[in-house]
Symmetry: C3
């Protein structure tokens, strides 16, 4: 690893130095773990309370200048966007390895009818099917299997042992993580004569530009048309997208989210972990779905849905609060019933003492 | 792609033509997406409302003849089972690729003690262990790993990078999708001396005929006997079947369903997505479990269970409806308490105005 | 298979024989399935009711001696720990295959800069990256991909098609099951200018000794430091551990459990299947989380949490019981409202009969 003085570091990230400027920094670390030779950063919730650190340098926003006390032990570097500046420092101190110069490995299994763009690398053990088209600067890791007729844009990375069934298309800059599977046949059967018969799925999957698909995620092919994942959408590990779904742009789905068949989403939709969306549901643009929520039907644009069955967050919050009180409610109801009986009994007695009352209540 | 006149298409699917019979059709499409050179179909919910389409031909049932209006723009083809007829048309217009003539690829790693039936294909990068027996007309895709002693029937397809641990057996016509894992050791430990010690799992997995196992699904081996997936059962992507489970025939489990150890099921059982079944539970023949439901104990034959904890659908529906009203119930209880206090106070007052009343209510 | 007399079997497991001692036993089986040539065992719930078996030998604890009746058909072998003794018998009758003598397969793709310890085996189709260090007696199955710079201790087993991204470390005796993925980039983005920009993840994953990771499980790398799985912890299939999580020692998480980012756990923590833990939550030492539970915040040491949102088991049990009664509660509330109206009406009437009452109740 290279190292920098805190002054050099402040210059690198375009920040304002407060401190000696002479400390030597050779790595990055989290706030709690950083030592004198490391730089850390403070942003968001980390600025609350009284954060402590032994870092040699701390990148933070001017408005958080005081959070480390009047005489901080660290050199401070003030910037408008601490995480951005920290990432810049991190990439300098921990340079990402450049693409390995593998080229078309002779130990990869590449169909003679496949075309591979310039500066693309196909690792040993990868399999590229007939008529596959791969763009420029793509990296196909070991064990990846790309079925016949798939089309990959430029700058696509496919991590180890991921699988593309035949005929799938990926836009530019798509990242597919290890063991993800794109284009398996959708879960569609006809039930007749007491058994399930597969409905052939001759559709495909279209992954648009800048999509990232997590490890172990699965995106099934459509029956006729295309299952679509819109540009810029990010799917975490173990997400499931069933056949015929059409996701908008810039969605973000956390791990283990499952979408049943033919779900549609607008743009900028977010789903928390383990949320489940029933078939043919729609998640409106800008909507968000809470972790573990179970959604049927339509979520309006911009709405925030939680719970199972899911509803607007405010309502769900009230329901959850009330449900926590359900045992108390049972006790209250029993108490009310008892008191009412006493009153009824008292009134019956009182009644018998009131000969002047002509009418009695109906049973 | 080939093309057909609508008359030829009607003949192909055995339907009754209404229209010109001369339109040329060269592909299939969904109702909303179809253009003049394409055939679509109407079935089930798609017949509701007033469906619109620009398709050159529409396959539909006679009873839905009117849904496209009195003067439909499309040629109509009337059949008793529209989806069946549509699939016939689709397979004609989009013929499925025939099995590639790979044979036993020299780039596959095949044990000399393995036996492979006739017309079976082992792709590059697949690994076939010692004493494996593979039937006729099987397709073993790239990267598949089949452990020692596994037995595969005829017409089995195993998609890329799926893994069979040693000693697993698959019946005829089984389909295993990409990255599925069959036969991993069950999650069984003894806890002693402050640590978990693995219980060896010397059992196996038996997948019966006509089973389909989704991408990323996992079926663990039994401790002693066999984890069984009954004939005709279909498991969607990312389904988990734990050790010692015994599934009946013709079950269908949607994506991300999880069965804990030793669960048993009858025949014709269905589970919605993300349902979880606790260990040793039993799902009766013909029962169904809703999406996201959490099941303990026994689900009776033919029952429909929902919710967490799961119960009969009708009860659960009433519970969910009531829970949605829980905040209102709290308000109602508070109102009742207030009114009751007022009555009690009134009665106390009334009491003091009734000197003739001899007895006072108990405290 | 070898075979033993029941006397030899009793000696093998150090048990006390009750019976002929001369029956021949050649395999193990479950209680229900065992035949005359097999040994089974009784422990825990299996001792309840009146278990029946046709096994030639039954291993059981002295206190369960009577559960098979006064004249059991099987030879009995009395031991203090039946499962332990049964496992001993099982491993004798079904010896585990010894490590195959593959060595460094010429069909594996091993970087010349990788180092591999003695008695380690690298199967065909495995890929070992630059500068990888592998200890002694490791088994790397077919299709495994180990990224550059990974370090594996001694006696590590990695099953087929599992993937380690670059720079991950595994302690001694770690077992990674098929298609598990360790070290993929965490799901971390900055949202700006209307799109998600990946935050580079330069951290790593550290898997400590004696950890077992299930098939299809995913453990993401940290942004800066390390995602940690503590010694002896067992993760079942399809478990998800997000970036920056730090798990203690001897945890056990059942299948499909998901931990969001930066979750921490103490030692001896258990999670039931499909439980979900929100980001930055903490599960205290000795705590347990029920299946399908959804946890936010802190679970105290030793606590037992259930439900969604999760709370202490006793409270949750009361809540669930009350929620099951929610429809009844609604009926009770309606009945109370009706009765109250009747009383109010009666009191109004009674009031009109009581001219001496000066004050009327407030509205």
């Amino acid at each position: 690893m290279s190292s920098l003085t805190t002054r050099e570091l402040a210059d690198l990230v375009g920040g304002e130095l407060r401190g000696t400027g002479t400390r030597l920094i050779d790595d990055v670390a989290g706030l709690d773990e950083a030592i004198a030779s490391q730089v850390t950063f403070i942003e968001g919730a980390a600025a609350d309370g009284s954060p402590k650190t032994s870092a040699g340098a701390v990148i933070l926003a001017a408005e958080h200048l005081g959070v480390l006390g009047d005489a901080p032990k660290s050199d401070l570097i003030l910037v408008p966007a601490p995480l951005d500046a920290f990432v810049t420092a991190m990439l300098h101190l921990r340079p990402m390895p450049s693409a390995p110069d593998v080229g078309r490995s002779p130990q990869a299994h590449i169909s003679p009818t496949a075309t591979v763009g310039s500066d693309s690398h196909i690792f040993p053990g990868a399999t590229i099917g007939d008529d596959v088209q791969i763009g420029d600067r793509c990296i196909i890791h070991p064990g990846v299997v790309i079925g016949a007729g798939c089309r990959l844009g430029d700058d696509v990375t496919i991590h180890a042992n991921a699988v593309l069934y035949a005929g799938v298309s990926l836009g530019d800059r798509v990242i597919v993580h290890a063991t993800a599977v794109i284009g398996a046949d959708g879960f569609g059967y006809q039930f007749r004569d007491g058994r399930f018969t597969r409905i052939p799925h001759t559709g495909t999957v279209r992954i648009e530009a800048d999509v990232e698909i997590g490890a172990g995620a699965t995106v099934d092919r459509a029956m006729i048309g295309a299952t679509i994942v819109g540009a810029g959408t990010k799917l975490d590990n173990q997400v499931m997208i069933a056949h015929n779904c059409r996701l908008g742009k810039h969605n973000a789905f956390a791990s283990q989210v499952g979408l049943a068949g033919s779900v549609t989403t607008g743009d900028y939709v977010r789903c928390g972990g383990q949320a489940g969306i029933a078939d043919h549901a729609h998640l409106g643009t800008g909507s968000s779905v809470g972790g573990k929520a179970g959604v049927h039907g339509r979520v309006p644009d911009g709405a925030d849905y939680h719970g199972y069955p899911a509803g607007p967050a405010k309502e769900q919050y009230r329901i959850v609060m009330a449900v926590q009180r359900a045992p108390e409610m049972r006790r209250q109801i029993r108490a009310l019933e008892k008191q009412l009986k006493q009153i009824q009994s008292l009134l019956g007695e009182a009644d018998s003492h009131q000969p002047s009352t002509a009418s009695a209540p109906a049973a």
